[in-house]
């Protein structure tokens, strides 16, 4: 069927700068750049371009740039090119539209409406260059009281298993299959270097990652891929994935063409078969059932690992989180509606769920009201873009945050949103060996470590400015936030005052 869509992007080649080295031809897995068979001229098929920026950034003479396709739409604010393209794609295939990465729509970003406090006159600010600043966080349940033997100066009460992160930033779950093994290795290396944790996602733990298992959170999702006693006991913690911000309420399909030998071995499923995660866990139809799964994992690991439960931020998330805490979760992971994904139905990604900022504030408040906040740790994810977002999240009640997209961007991802095709030119969201080899785990890890180290310094600076020297004192400290451009209901849910108050 003839494609009635225009290209989204146009490849601009500066003929004066181009030295015809063909690097762009070799680099583009989408086969945008090519040599004309008849004339031998170097050309570009813009229709295939996804704007991953691999060619523009590697071109030795900077001869390439990508621009939007110049075609204008009819000028309607309703029938934009994008809206029409979706209709055309479905008219041509009858399929469910698939999309990747996070929700790109222009919904309110509440982070940008929350301003941070700083000390002036009455309370001295602290200089993190001279004074110690604690950014280490401990995740897990906390006992309601501690008994100490004062004679021997030891804690007598049994402590529940906990995770200790030197920085309040972990890496979100990304499965082998959705991302390459080199991506996971880079995150594992970075997690070890930073003293934090990566999450292997629901696709099992590849044997090459076992040396980093002490920095791994292993996930149990509805498909139970790769889940056996060895896997459960290998990681530092177990995460039950109920939902994901990018696609709340639905399961996952890893298409058969991505199930190569290594993915198959790690997921423990046959090669070439669709890997289907059912929408629900079929052993969880209630909070009581969740409790049953949590404790089955605790039994399977001798009560030595904290169990996290991850849910997408949705309506009534506060009540759901209360149930999760009561079901025995040690850590609650809230994933906002902007969270990324390797593939999700576009309508789900763009329309389902709620912002992490509101969900986090609502959950923290509800758990406090019910007096159970300390029984559980809160981890927020779903588009934390910089250190200020992390500080805001902690002030809204998060113990720590998880980053996915930001870590991938550090490695080279340019958010083209074409992960599902499996042709990631950066070697991140692909299983093609030639592409995967472009991502050197050590070099990618260095970039991620740099990013998080930079953030951590900024977090210390911002905390110091507030006169706070330990991140524990910032947690849920909403007096450090003021709203701008928010209505009363939004302020109420966020639990913050308006700027000037």
């Amino acid at each position: 069927m003839r494609d009635f869509r225009n290209p989204r992007y146009k490849v601009l080649r500066d003929r004066e700068e181009c030295i015809e080295c063909d690097l762009c031809v070799r680099q583009c897995a989408n086969e945008v750049h090519y040599r004309d068979k008849k004339t031998g001229a170097l050309r570009a098929d813009s229709m295939k371009c996804v704007n991953c920026q691999r060619c523009t950034l590697l071109c030795p003479t900077r001869a390439l740039a990508i621009t939007r396709w110049p075609q204008v739409d009819a000028g309607s604010a309703v029938w934009t090119e994008g809206a029409m393209d979706d209709i055309t794609a479905q008219a041509q295939t009858g399929g469910v539209l698939l999309a990747s990465m996070g929700n790109p729509k222009s919904y309110h970003i509440y982070w940008e409406h929350l301003l941070l406090n700083a000390s002036q006159v009455t309370n001295p600010s602290i200089d993190p260059l001279r004074e110690p600043m604690e950014t280490r966080v401990v995740l897990g349940s906390r006992p309601s009281k501690l008994r100490v033997n004062e004679r021997t100066r030891t804690v007598v009460s049994p402590l529940p298993p906990q995770l200790s992160c030197d920085v309040p930033v972990m890496f979100s779950a990304m499965s082998f299959g959705s991302v390459s093994l080199n991506t996971q290795k880079a995150l594992a290396l970075a997690a070890r270097e930073l003293g934090t944790y990566f999450n292997c996602g629901e696709g099992g733990l590849h044997r090459d990652l076992e040396p980093y298992a002490d920095r791994a959170i292993v996930q149990v999702a509805s498909g139970r891929f790769g889940v056996d006693p060895h896997y459960l006991n290998a990681g530092a913690a177990i995460e039950i994935k109920i939902g994901q911000g990018a696609k709340p309420g639905i399961g996952g399909h890893l298409p058969g063409e991505k199930i190569n030998e290594e993915v198959s071995r790690t997921r423990m499923i046959p090669e070439g078969t669709d890997a289907i995660s059912p929408a629900p866990h079929h052993d969880i139809y209630s909070i009581e059932d969740l409790r049953q799964l949590i404790f089955s994992l605790k039994e399977a690991t001798g009560y030595a690992k904290p169990v996290a439960v991850k849910v997408a931020a949705v309506h009534n998330v506060a009540a759901i989180a209360s149930g999760m805490a009561r079901a025995g979760a040690d850590i609650i992971v809230l994933d906002g509606f902007r969270g990324g994904t390797g593939a999700a139905p576009k309508r789900i990604r763009d329309n389902v769920g709620i912002p992490i900022e509101l969900a986090l504030a609502a959950v923290d408040e509800r758990l406090r009201q019910e007096g159970i906040r300390s029984t559980v740790s809160l981890v927020a994810s779903g588009t934390l873009r910089n250190a200020a977002d992390v500080v805001r999240a902690v002030a809204l009640g998060a113990d720590a945050v998880s980053i996915g997209s930001a870590a991938l961007i550090a490695m080279g991802c340019h958010q083209c949103g074409d992960c599902a095709s499996g042709r990631c030119n950066w070697g991140i969201a692909t299983q093609r060996a030639d592409l995967v080899s472009r991502l050197a785990p050590e070099a990618a890890a260095e970039r991620v470590v740099n990013l998080v180290s930079g953030w951590n310094r900024e977090i210390q600076e911002m905390m110091g400015g507030m006169g706070i020297n330990a991140i524990d004192s910032l947690r849920g400290n909403r007096l450090m936030l003021r709203g701008v451009g928010l209505n009363e209901k939004e302020l109420e849910i966020l639990g913050v005052k308006y700027a000037g108050e």
């Binding site: 469910v96 459960l232 078969t273």
Partner: protein, 240 residues
């Protein structure tokens, strides 16, 4: 090492019960549990070489993540028996509840009577591992939903929505119990020689477990095989 240790559960909480069972398993390869009153997770991660004999009614998640052990229940079991089981054998002299064999990857679950809803959901096979569920009685709705591998033998009647979303493995059904209309994406066929051999061995295994006469419940010739038409049921579902 003692041959068999007897552990009485009574009204013990599951944590206490499992701790007692684990302690006994450290001392003996076979532990006989008596007075089981719905304690969950019995046989959780049980490794090869260990055996539990359970008298009474074990609770949910019996033999979850089991890794090669043997569990024999002299009575019925509750929900999620053999949940995400990796290897081993579960024999139930009675019936099992809902979601038996969920995401089971290996080993066998042999049930004398029927099973509840959602039996064998998301069962999968891999490499040399091929999970087996044999149900002597009737099964509830959604048997074999999302089934991605393994073998289910059903001697009695199936409920509604049999094998919806099935994309791997095989369900052996008796010809007179097959659905009137075979759901889209599935393929109902007569047994091949290989099927006949596999099924014959499983029926013999059932007889050996429960002391029934060979093929007292069913003979191989009465069965047909239900398989998915494709291992990629959703290949054409998406557009981008």
């Amino acid at each position: 090492m003692a041959e068999t240790i007897i552990v009485e559960l009574g009204t013990k909480h599951f944590q206490e019960a499992n701790a007692a069972v684990r302690a006994a398993l450290a001392e003996a390869d076979t532990v006989c549990i008596v007075e089981a009153y719905a304690q969950r997770y019995l046989g959780c991660t049980l490794p090869a070489g260990k055996r539990l004999e359970i008298h009474g009614t074990p609770g949910n998640d019996l033999a979850c993540y089991m890794d090669g052990g043997e569990v024999e229940v002299f009575g019925s079991a509750q929900d999620q028996t053999a949940n995400t089981m990796n290897a081993g054998t579960v024999v139930v002299h009675g019936r099992v509840g809902d979601a038996a064999g969920y995401a089971m990857r290996g080993g066998e679950l042999i049930v004398r009577d029927g099973c509840g809803w959602r039996g064998g959901i998301n069962m999968k096979q891999y490499g040399g591992k091929c999970p087996v569920i044999v149900i002597g009685g009737d099964a509830g709705n959604f048997l074999g939903e999302y089934m991605a591998g393994g073998i289910i033998v059903l001697m009695g009647r199936a409920g509604d929505h049999l094998a919806s979303g099935m994309h791997g493995g095989v369900i052996y059904l008796r010809r007179n119990n097959t659905p009137a209309v075979v759901p889209d994406g599935l393929d109902l066929r007569e047994l091949t020689d290989e099927d006949t051999a596999t099924l014959g061995a499983l029926l013999a295994r059932y007889d050996a477990c429960f002391g029934t006469e060979p093929h007292e419940h069913a003979s191989v010739s009465e069965f047909v095989a239900l398989r998915p038409a494709s291992s990629r049921p959703y290949a054409a579902m998406y557009a981008s």
